[in-house]
């Protein structure tokens, strides 16, 4: 993917969430956003995913400027996939229906085709035997995996993951991270934010350290983790890597 952002500003009421984010990436498969909570990772991700509009600045994804009009944004969201920390699935629908419903209503596939695609997607993530369960009957890790199955069922151009494992216990975290890594290796373009530094290092082509609404540093995992230039980034890493 090719990403370009210039001086992106975003505030919610009095709170300045993004303070002029600029970034230029020629080619990356997996971009990982790290940084302290409240630093702007989620906001930036939501803008990249077409869920929010920036107050100012421009964002270009794969050489196309991000649309400003609601219908353009809707079409953009439909091309991509987005996953939140938790509560992604619709609780009144089974895992299977959670996937077939958007395939039918958003992507216009006939019911039989949608069902086949959904079953394939669930089977790929080891959920074939759980397809008729409601989200409440699945574990947190299974819910997240089913949500990923939904996000990739229509083969999105880009997949956005906002702290996909922050609400999970370590065992479930591992099963979800494995799956994301598989997706990355299969060639899926991904932008994700995470607090799992080991995982960030393993899966990322490029890592952006975001704090106080700005990108403090951008670089390859090797550079960023071993010879970070930014003081803020160094302090953050030494803190989170201590234990």
């Amino acid at each position: 993917m090719k990403l370009e952002a210039t001086n992106v500003l975003k505030s919610y009421g009095q709170a300045q969430a993004l303070n002029g984010i600029s970034l230029s990436l020629e080619a990356a498969r997996v971009l990982v956003l790290i940084g302290p909570s409240g630093g702007g990772k989620s906001t930036f991700l939501r803008i990249l995913g077409g869920l929010e509009l920036p107050d100012e600045g421009t964002v270009t994804v794969n050489s196309h400027p991000l649309p400003h009009r609601p219908d353009g944004l809707l079409a953009y969201r439909r091309r991509n996939g987005f996953l939140f920390q938790q509560f992604n699935l619709f609780p009144h629908l089974t895992a299977l229906r959670n996937i077939t419903l958007p395939l039918e209503k958003v992507h216009g596939h006939p019911a039989a085709v949608a069902r086949a695609m959904a079953e394939e997607s669930l089977a790929r993530f080891g959920l074939a035997s759980h397809q008729h369960k409601l989200p409440a009957q699945l574990s947190g890790g299974q819910q997240q995996r089913a949500a990923i199955a939904r996000a990739v069922a229509h083969q999105p151009e880009l997949l956005f993951l906002d702290e996909p494992t922050s609400a999970l216990d370590p065992e479930m975290t591992a099963e979800v991270l494995e799956l994301i890594q598989e997706l990355a290796m299969a060639g899926q373009d991904i932008v994700l934010s995470t607090h799992e530094m080991g995982f960030a290092r393993a899966v990322a082509d490029q890592i952006a350290f975001i704090a106080q609404g700005k990108i403090e540093e951008l670089g390859s995992p090797a550079d960023l983790f071993s010879q970070s230039k930014s003081e803020v980034c160094k302090r953050f890493l030494s803190k989170v890597m201590r234990y």
């Binding site: 969201r77 958003v106 996000a151």
Partner: protein, 258 residues
Amino acid sequence: MTTSQKIANALVGILLLTAAGWLCTSVFHVLGKQTDWEKAWEYRETLWQGWKTTIAISIAALGGSVIFGALFMLGQRSPLPVVRWSCRAFLEFVRDTPLLVHLLFGYFVIFAPLMSRTLSSYGWEDKLVIGVLLLSVFEGAYLGEILRGGLESIPQAQWDSARAVGFSSPQIYRHVIIPQTLRRVLPAIAGLFVSLIKDSSLLNVIGVMEYFYNTRNFISRSYAGLEGYVPLAFGYLILTLPIAWLSHRLEKHFRHET
């Protein structure tokens, strides 16, 4: 339950039964000799008509209250502040005044002078139509609040997820928000319908010939006692108990789902 609790439970049960039994026998002792069920049988036709009218009023007002409830809910979510505030003020007024007052005021002061002649010229019974309308507005005010509460209880994450999978705004409501809201509010709506059936008895004050009106007529004409009041109570219970039961079942059912 511990053994002592079981004993206490049994004792209290026996006590309550005795009290209820005593009340019944003493009432029958006083009224039993005058009770003549044949009187009720003679008036069966008008009682039956009244009962059917009560059902018709309840069903019509249920439909009407759904329409008004949806309007009140939408009004309170309107982007225009003046619509929101008018809605709030009206709902506050409706919910803070008795239905009896609405019926008398609404019928004699507002609607009867305005609509009675027109309705009669169409061959409709004006009391019935206006009564149903007023009942619909009253129950709709409560329904609107139930719907608003249900809608606002859907977490933001569901809106986000629905947008993220690419649903358009109408699709978000149709496939994600409304189904979940309905699941949450159905028990409360069933409960409201029970109130609606009971409240329909108040329509007698504007002269609608429903079950209460006809039964009361029968009682005052024939000096009936038990044979008038017992069917009155049971006539309403037959309608409300199944719905109350349904309400409890829905509540249990949807509690398991989440």
